[in-house]
Amino acid sequence: MNHSFYFKLAATNIKKNSKTYFPYILTCIGTIIVFYIMHALSINPQVGDGSLALMLSFGTQVIAIFSIIFLFYTNSFLIKRRKKELGLYNILGMEKKHIAKVLSLETIYVAVFSLIVGLLSGILTSKLMFLLLLKITHFSAQMDFYFSISSVTAVLVVFGFIFAVTLLNNLHQIHLANPIELLNGSQTGEKEPKTKWLLAVIGFICLGIGYYIALTTESPLAAMGLFFIAVILVIIGTYSLFIAGSVAFLKKLRNNKYFYYKPKNFLNISGLIYRMKQNAVGLANICILSTGVLIVLSTTVSMYIGQKDVIRTRYPQNVMISTMDTTPYSEKAPDNIKYIVDTKLQEYKFTADNMIDYTYLTIAAEESGYVFSVDSSNIVDSSSNVRHLYFILLDDYNRIEHKSQTLDENEVLLFTGNQKYGYESLEIINKKYSIKEKLDSINIPTTNTNSAITCYYIIVKDIAVLNTFDKELPTQSLHYYIGFDIDGSEEDIISLTNSIDISLTENYPSLVESAAKAKSTFYALYGGLLFLGIFIGALFIMATVLIIYYKQISEGYDDKERFTIMKQVGMSTDEVKKTIHSQVLMVFFIPLIAAVIHIAVAFQIMTKLLAVLYLTNIFLFALCTLGTIAIFTIFYAIVYSLTARVYYKIVN
């Protein structure tokens, strides 16, 4: 055969199948663009090699893995639809190796075209994306046009691999194909799906456990580990319930004769059983992807919006200074440190507001009943009973809070934040203290860097009490804290804190922190996360749209025949349209509903996870979640109605 014949045939094949190939090529281009941009940004020297670059390269990996799975999935959908066509070629006299040649050429066309278009658009838009990244991370860098050969190489390697794998799969399909079977395949009729009770039960249990974990996990640190277990369980549960649970449920409905033999139920239930068999996996995919989009976007958006809150939560005072664990404490230390800070403030012409200073001792302990065990080997970080105990002297407390409390040696005041404490006494290192008063509030900021662990404030009579601990726990030492708010430019504040840091180093090495100094790190972190969220969200949305589109098309071809039969048996066009519409509507909105339920259940554990990242504004998170759901639903509805049009065109 003439060689140009193959090239021509491959080209016409793509054109003829444009209804399915066009979206596929668009997706290839889209994923290439996303991957190129993410990769180019992650290795852009201007981004540096800090946490932002790390995050971006993580994003690159996620996108690569996702692209492999997703493009492979869509391609196998395409080739399945074309089996009949390929069988026809075989019958018309093309050998399998000829068909293989045509398919290879097709893949090469698609690959070359999407790589060229994808890379060009990627290179062109990457600068725009870089600007966006700088904007949302408040990163300052020069705006050079950056073109990365190594990113281009990475794209070629990753997507070359993807296209090669899809081609191999296609060739494998031809190899399996039996032309006669292929031609008659569509007439044999679908078997009714069997009820897979075991799978349904497994799905139910997995989902149940996943939900239980999500709803009951109290400790943020435990949440981190358990979250992924819950996610995996929920994914397994979702798939098995979509596959088996749905059929089992529908069959139960069908067994109720008086319910089933009503016009609407009759057609819907039988139609859905049939649809679920073919679409369960696709619908579960849509559900999981939608859930992913919603979680990624709602968390990253709320963190980005809430970053001012976050910074304030992390830094209750503008400047926070506390002595290190290794810094020796003496009676004179507070005065000396305060003196140094004061002189520096004067030197830099700052007036400090809300200056707070106190001496404290901090111990991690595990709460069980009224006993606080401080044996560090027993303390499991992820346990929800771990507390940071801040011991503060009564004098400091009275001074800061303007109170005049008095305490006995074995008496304490206790503040437990949001946590309830149900006892009238507490025991630490074999010594019992009675609680004179449980405080409702306290104005003493701490340098607790881990908001995931609950802090208890214990106010004790005097330093003698703490010294007894000191003997028992030689690793712990007394600290001195001083913090204040100041007004000024960020640069001035940073130079002040640097200068304080240097002057304290000699005698009292301390941790000198300021919100100003941390801001850039926070912006990079949260901006980077948002950027990543937008990109991965966009990718997921692209996948969701494509799956919905392909589902509609394949449903359309399947329903065409049913549509004619129903009309002949005595249903009006309107009735048929209505039943089909209601079925399609149900089928496509079930995944969204399931996704929203997942989100609702996950909300609790998400707030715990966000607390680890200092976002404690639950209201903001709730708002962002609702907002994302609302926007996503609208978007979903639009995609649905657009693809439904394609569907009705096929059916009519």
Binding site: G189, E190, K257, K262, S270, Q568, V569
Partner: protein, 257 residues
């Protein structure tokens, strides 16, 4: 008394962009009496399918009328037409047209369910029909699990269960082997003997020779008709065969009515 009266039926198809017109039916007139078993024969393209579609109220004629029990089905509104079709007409198709998503029983119930018939009533109606058609054993099975002949009998059951005025059959033996065809034709005769009016479009001389009367359509017109009278099936077969040859060769020979 005619149960079906077809007067001056004319159908012109226009291609999508109005380019060319194709006359499928020129002027069709005939009537079917209650309890009759009529076969319509004609070559491909003679207008058989168009005629059946119009009788089935799936298509509208360009001019002319179709009276079923004195009611002109051409003028029934789009809204009522499906309900009308459901209650008055029974269909049997060449390719059975059973829905894969339903069991045989549910396929048979389909028109009844659509008319909101209570379940107990449906069961009552199904029983005698399923015994008569010999499909009691396969009621719970699905279309893909049974043979072509069984599928076609299920389709007949679906057509009968509504007690229609007339059964319209489109090449009912077209997809069946000779044994299943014979069985189906016997069944049709049996049903007809019980008073059911049947109108069948067919290519098969054998099927047509089973009917009381055969109408021949050529170029969109009823060209000729044959009454079976007291003739045997074989004699009828011969006569139909002769007539078809005559029609095909074009020499018009007056055949006695």
């Amino acid at each position: 008394m005619p149960i079906l009266q077809v007067n001056n039926l004319k159908k012109i198809y226009t291609t999508r962009f109005g380019g060319s017109h194709v006359q499928a039916l020129t002027n069709v007139c005939f009537s079917v009496d209650a309890g009759e078993y009529v076969a319509i024969m004609g070559e491909s393209g003679s207008g058989k399918t168009t005629l059946l579609n119009i009788l089935a109220s799936l298509d509208k004629p360009t001019t002319g009328e179709v009276l079923l029990n004195h009611k002109n089905i051409v003028s029934i509104s789009e809204k009522e037409i499906s309900a009308f079709r459901r209650t008055n007409l029974g269909f049997v198709f060449q390719n059975f047209n059973l829905l894969d998503t339903f069991s045989i029983q549910d396929n048979i119930f389909l028109p009844l369910v659509l008319s909101n018939t209570p379940y107990d009533n449906m069961i009552k109606r199904l029983e005698p029909i399923s015994i008569q058609l010999g499909i009691t054993d396969i009621l719970k099975k699905y279309p893909y699990e049974v043979s072509g002949g069984q599928k076609q009998r299920a389709a007949v059951a679906r057509a009968l269960i509504t007690n229609p005025q007339i059964i319209l059959a489109d090449e009912p033996t077209g997809a069946l082997d000779s044994r299943a065809s014979d069985q189906l034709l016997r069944l049709f005769s049996e049903i007809n003997h019980r008073g059911q009016t049947i109108l069948m479009v067919t290519h098969s001389i054998k099927a047509a020779s089973n009917a009381n009367r055969v109408l021949f359509i050529k170029d969109g017109e009823v060209f000729h008709q044959l009454y079976k009278g007291s003739m045997s099936d074989d004699a009828m077969y011969q006569k139909i065969s002769d007539t078809l040859t005559t029609i095909a060769t074009g020499s018009v020979k007056e055949v006695s009515k």
